[in-house]
Symmetry: D2
Subunit: 315 residues, 4 copies
């Protein structure tokens, strides 16, 4: 079936239908998010992120911070300044006053990382109730990272040649076979009819256990802006697994459209900000006065010292 | 200063200014809430509730429950049926997909009960940073309940005559004196000027401790619909303190406008629903077959038995 | 390898080591939980639940409810009465004052249901960092439920004969093959050595996606008693999937040992209690006075009416 | 009445009673916390903090991080290293595996700041149900800070001479009068008898509103270690109000006894760590290479630049 941004024609039609109806509201509005509302943004081979609803904008943060009767805004420049101030001093409650609701389609092994962020509302497609589609994640050949030798939690070089071919082959075959047997156990064909009229078919809640962790699931995910930024700080980070980072990058872009002043402050103070230990800060002050102490002088691990060096050399 | 619904002219002007600007949106909208958006609804002698923003409506609940690409709605009657089903089976996640933001002005002793509901976002007016207004709660004479003799946590008869007059007198005088001394300690007059040029004035964060618990504070409060209904179930209940119930009643009315099908299901299954213990249910089945066992036969307390009797006799 | 309660010899030795060291404490203690501390309780074919730590007991609930300086206890009978009162009136905060920490081994598809309870702390075994064991869930033949025809979310009759045999065969074969290929992609054998010295091996965080949802994971799970009871109310219920119910039943048994008075109150008011809608309660009052109205008279669905009938007929 | 650490004789007797009974446990234990368990630690003029219970210790964090069957510990030095690593990389879940329960007595205006930390369990003494004691906070004369002129949220110089005397006088008199009228409205004397047999007495839930915000309340407060450290990072900070800082300092000391390795890592990476914006970090790299750019060159506010200067000059 032809797809656009990983969504098929029938669903695109529903989305277009929704986008035809516009309403009048007195609420705070973000014109740039209205532009993309409901539209799928492609992630990975079958996934997407769609903004389904949002509450508030930069002004709403200012309005809440001032517990204002009116708009909260004085001048745009003052608003930006207040937002920076709030971000710099970790005053998180005004950022909790904005909320966003996303529809996300993602591989199950990524969904399992995602739910570790508990301060969010989730409504997931139920595989007890419904049959999952035959859609599974196969990494792009450039992303077949090998196990990192110095970071047990990361990737290093990329697999190539026959080794890469074999891996892709395995992933495709095993996932396909899993689905075929999923249908077989439920005794159901693509159209939902019984494969064999003598059989009664295993319950969906059991049959699903045969599917592998690269199968896609989907959910509605609703979160406030403060907690979303925390999610993005961890998941748009280079330590995060590449696959979840691709989702985080798309959502970062949504945040930039939605609350541009907050986005700027977030990049300045959090995403590109630097956290130093007490010892590291002391080392930098020594460096300013002449030289960087060794890791033995600082009594920290070589690894920690290297991280500091890399930071000083400019990431 | 002349007030309307406990809000003064200047603030009303700000609100009216906000209500003049309407926007176009593709988001789910609740026309009945748009009607009242930003407008103060009077509660107690100086308090109010204002809806500042909202996300979603009945259809959004259905849409989330179906993890839908489109509107979620099939037919209005089917949507109502699904909402009832979700409420009846305590499927709470779809109700978490709606969110509301209120601006509330309320006495501090009520604010202290209110924050016991932790799954909400709060931005409170800061008395470290700003000076509180001279506004305190004095109960209406009809609400001067005496300590209940059989419920240590409730009121009974109403004070009358000289006793009532004395209480009102005390409350007014003590609160007024507290405020006078609040200003005196900060060395500040009504216009914010120094009272005495020789004095340096106590910090706001300290001076505020002289104010009494009936002084009004205000906050922005944002909560999802599921948690809001939980709040209302406890705070619109007859066991709740009268003063917080008045807020809950106003908010219940907002919920009815915002998500009418959810409101109906909430009233049917929760607010007017009945919870019975295992023993009470056994007793009712005995009653159906002839007679209600005594509390000795049931081995429950007289008090619990009386509650059952009252329920059977029709609250 | 020989196992006992789904735990192998080496790990049992570690557990026995831990159980050898006892300490002196002034804290509230639950002797019956001490008896089973650290010991595995078998669930399903490879899973278990172990109590790793706990805080508080029935007395601690009473102590917190009274904000007591001492033990909180007056007489045991009074304590039981207070706990019943708190449970009956949904005063949840004293129950939040007890905490339990469990080590749970469970299939991934059950883990995904489990995490929907967000008010808990979780530390899961990382398949980014480590290699998962070759352990997957295969249902007992008596539990191969067919899809229910009248409840899209449930099971009905049990598969038998060749159909059952085929399903078990599929589940075993697909899971085994998935694991074989998991190792092959990582280029690692059972001892952790390279299978092929020419290959560099796919990163763990990627290879794991080939495993199926019946593979076992494990975690430390910590939760307060109030939220645990909420979990048990939903997951020990007949609407819950059988596999998670088996975990809930084991945990219920732990609760009975840990806080017996709370357990009794929970069974009386929650687990075996009855919730009725406003309409259903009206119907019962009519029944007491003569006859049960029909579902048309009540204007409720046939299904809802049937549920009421079943309840009256005694589940 | 004679008091010790702000607790009276009768309550001390209860505490001593509790401390007489020691139990045997297999749970992780912290000997240094056992030493102080239940004992009051004085804060302010009438407040205190008491440790009522705790779960886990440094080893328990390691055990959870490793999802271990046994103690988790390999060598003490390795454990300390792992704890540092977890703190440095913001891996918060293992720290959530420890829990502490405190009994705190504190002025209401501080309690109102405290509850802004929502991820904790609270059981507060109820002034609907019981009568509050006549205990209110009067600052030490050295702490009568004046309103800061450059920080609307802080204090500066200290009041002296007649101004200080007047403030103390006001605070004492107003609080005393509030209490006298509290009793009068409830029609109750110190022994709990009716003051006037003709009167029925105002309900407690209403009379309490006459008390001022410096009256003491008390609660049981239970929180996990990760969230406790977050609380301490904000409340032991110089930006926090002095009064809450005094509580934070006492609790910091408890943390040091309870989980010494975690305490060390917390001090190194959080409490004494430094957070720099992207721009500030760029400026420091310039400084290392020669000179610090001006605030105009950096395009940041003078205030932000000054903060950086102060940091470099060594706080």
């Amino acid at each position: 079936m032809k797809k656009e941004n990983n969504i098929d024609q029938e669903q695109l039609a529903e989305i277009n239908e929704l986008r035809k109806n516009s309403y009048t509201t007195l609420r705070a509005t973000s014109p740039e998010v209205e532009e993309i509302l409901y539209k799928p943004m492609k992630v990975l081979d079958h996934g997407f992120v769609r903004v389904v609803d949002y509450m508030g904008n930069d002004s709403a943060i200012v309005q809440a911070a001032r517990v204002s009767y009116g708009k909260g805004t004085k001048k745009v420049s003052e608003d930006a300044g207040l937002i920076k101030y709030l971000m710099r001093h970790s005053h998180s409650t005004p950022f909790e006053m904005c909320e966003i609701k996303l529809h996300v389609k993602l591989p199950i092994f990524i969904a399992r990382q995602w739910v570790r962020h508990r301060t969010a509302n989730i409504n997931e497609y139920s595989a007890r109730y419904s049959i999952l589609d035959k859609e599974f994640y196969i990494p792009n050949e450039n992303n077949l990272g090998a196990q990192s030798s110095n970071n047990r939690q990361g990737r290093d070089a990329v697999l190539s040649g026959q080794e890469a071919t074999d891996v892709l082959e395995i992933l495709k075959n095993d996932a396909s076979q899993a689905y075929e047997n999923y249908e077989k156990m439920m005794n159901i064909d693509k159209e939902g009819n019984a494969l064999n009229s003598e059989k009664i078919g295993l319950a969906r809640e059991l049959a699903r256990m045969n599917l592998s962790l690269n199968y896609y699931t989907q959910w509605y995910w609703k979160i406030d802006l403060h907690n979303l930024l925390h999610f993005l700080r961890l998941r748009a980070d280079t330590h995060a697994q590449l696959e979840i980072r691709e989702y985080a990058d798309v959502i970062l872009n949504v945040v930039e459209k939605w609350v541009p002043e907050t986005y700027n402050a977030f990049v300045e103070y959090q995403l590109n900000g630097v956290k130093l230990s007490s010892t590291a800060w002391g080392a930098i002050k020594s460096l300013v006065n002449g030289k960087l102490p060794t890791h033995e002088e600082l009594n920290i691990s070589k690894r920690e010292w290297n991280e500091l060096k890399e930071l000083l050399d400019g990431k």
